[in-house]
């Protein structure tokens, strides 16, 4: 079974809300039904087929192609399956996510994983501001850089970075550590073909936060130089 693939038809200048394009919303729909499905829950909403060429049939593996930073809310509230984004994406990637995994091979905009509770988001490129904001739990990995306010108001969960972000006053440095659970986490990354597969060492700088929200979350910055 090939992955359910959404290929953006043309370069768009306005934002597109992709929150309906998850396994939860599309399972058991036929190709025609998907193409004719309203993109938004409004009366005059454009259809999915207006913007995307749709192919494939595996609802648990969704692929976005020819993407750009205008595609917002990809993976919103998803609970299962995998989404691959072959390019950049917009704001609120994986917001309120409840499970499954999202792989973005390009860059993501602001509010990655906003209010996510479970699941995994891996971004090969950069992420914008408020990465992991209001995160309840789960794992976000950004191989490139992140913008301001990473982990803003996060309660629990892990944000895995390779570069030290601009830290807020409510993020506390806990020192450099070798964390055993990273062995399991990296092993689970191996099937996902991302830049994270190259990581071999378990040495991280651990920042705890957001201390304004109990501080059970963490930003882990990988020490790549000791690989």
């Amino acid at each position: 079974m090939s992955a359910l693939t959404f290929t953006l038809k043309a370069s768009v200048t306005h934002s597109i809300d992709c929150r309906r394009l998850t396994a939860n919303n599309l399972a058991d729909l036929s190709m025609t039904e998907i193409e004719n499905l309203n993109l938004l829950n409004t009366k005059n909403s454009p259809k999915i087929g207006d913007y995307f060429d749709v192919s494939g049939s595996d609802f648990n593996h969704i692929v976005f192609k020819n993407t750009n930073e205008k595609l917002n809310y990809i993976g919103h509230k998803m609970t299962r399956g995998q989404i691959n984004i072959e390019g950049d994406c917009g704001d609120f990637l994986g917001s309120q996510m409840r499970g499954g995994s999202i792989i973005c091979n390009g860059n993501a905009n602001d509010r990655v994983g906003d209010q996510m509770r479970r699941g995994l988001i891996l971004i090969d490129g950069n992420a914008g501001d408020y990465c992991g904001s209001r995160m309840i739990a789960g794992t976000i990995g950004v191989f490139g850089s992140v913008g301001n306010y990473a982990g803003f108001a996060m309660k629990r969960g892990t944000i895995l970075l390779t570069q030290t972000p601009k830290l807020q006053a409510t993020t506390q440095d806990c020192g450099t550590h070798t964390l055993p659970f990273l062995a399991l986490l990296f092993k689970s990354f191996n099937v996902l073909s991302t830049r994270f597969n190259t990581i071999k060492n378990l040495r991280v700088q651990r920042y705890s936060g957001d201390l304004a929200c109990n501080g059970n979350g963490e930003i882990l910055v990988l020490r790549l130089e000791s690989n």
Binding site: R118, A137, T139, R156, T158, H177, T178, L179, P180, F181, A183, L184, L185, K187, S188, N216, E218
Partner: protein, 307 residues
């Protein structure tokens, strides 16, 4: 039945239903995995006095463990699920949580068509973290990270509990204590290679086989006088004149076949030593067949080899 000049008695070992679980313990190196596992399986020879019977099943190389570190696999058996759960938690808390660099993972995963209950491995242990514990759900499996003084203690939330069998056994009757022990050691070396079983007694061997009941009303088990060489002539002894020492090997396993295989391998290893080893007979312990539902008939088990 005689194999290589050693007589195999026409009798059977009587075994009981138990509950069993497996835990994978890893550490920075095998030395510390052993320290953890030895502590966890310490004082766990017999359910009569220890609550559980536990032992190290095998050593796992780094590529066979969940976290890529060397480890050992521990099997634990009890007469009921409640005791097993309670003993597992206590031993996890006192022996694995405390052991430097050790981590613990489930050794029995849910499988279709198999009756497996999930029991707590780190689910309650996490409260040791006093609010600083965090969980991580990786590939659908929940792990707990508990901050401890050497770094972080990583433990899987649950492991599997299955129906198992305990009390498979055989007796080695030899002309001297040294001969009986050497034969027992030889058998244990061979049996340690069989998966899904443990021999819970010290070094895998027990010298104080017991019978049910006693002349003392408060004792519910006492020495197996029929197999005590110094009581020949005093009691209705099972031993002929030349037998001077008897050793027993007790086996707990996940299935009937596992125990039968390990008994066959163990007995065969002794028979391979031949007459010169001083071993004269192999027998087995039972209670007349009325107590335990599982009967391991020695002739049936060894018949497969002889044939």
């Amino acid at each position: 039945m005689i194999i290589n000049s050693i007589k195999i008695d026409d009798t059977f070992a009587e075994a009981f239903n138990m509950r069993g679980t497996r835990v994978i313990i890893t550490a920075q190196n095998l030395k510390w995995a052993y320290h953890a596992a030895n502590a966890m399986t310490g004082f766990a020879t017999s359910v009569i006095g220890c609550g559980v019977e536990a032992g190290i099943e095998c050593v796992l190389s780094a590529d066979k463990t969940p976290d890529g570190r060397p480890g050992v696999s521990v099997l634990m058996f009890a007469m009921g699920s409640k005791v097993l759960m309670q003993q597992l938690e206590t031993r996890m808390g006192q022996c694995i949580l405390t052991c430097p660099t050790a981590a613990a993972f489930a050794g029995i995963a849910p499988k279709e068509g198999l009756e497996i209950d999930k029991i707590s491995l780190g689910r309650h242990l996490r409260y040791f973290g006093d609010g600083f514990q965090t969980s991580k759900l990786i590939n659908g499996i929940r792990y707990w990270r508990i901050p401890v003084m050497d770094g972080e203690f990583l433990v899987q939330e649950t492991t599997g509990m299955v129906r198992a069998i305990g009390g498979g056994n055989f007796l080695i009757l030899a002309t001297s204590q040294a001969a009986a022990l050497h034969a027992a050691e030889t058998a244990i070396d061979a049996m340690r290679k069989i998966p899904n079983v443990i021999m819970p007694f010290p070094g895998g061997v027990v010298r104080s086989g017991s019978k049910v009941g006693s002349k003392y009303p408060k004792m519910f088990a006492s020495t197996n006088d029929a197999f005590c060489p110094t009581l020949k002539g005093l009691v209705n002894s099972e031993l002929s004149e030349e037998i001077e020492s008897v050793m027993e090997i007790v086996i707990d396993g996940l299935t009937f076949e596992d125990i039968a295989t390990s008994m066959r391998v163990g007995i065969q290893a002794i028979c391979d030593l031949g007459e010169a080893s001083g071993v004269k007979r192999i027998s087995a312990g039972n209670y007349g067949g009325k107590l335990g539902p599982h009967h391991f008939k020695l002739h049936g088990i060894m018949g497969k080899t002889a044939a």
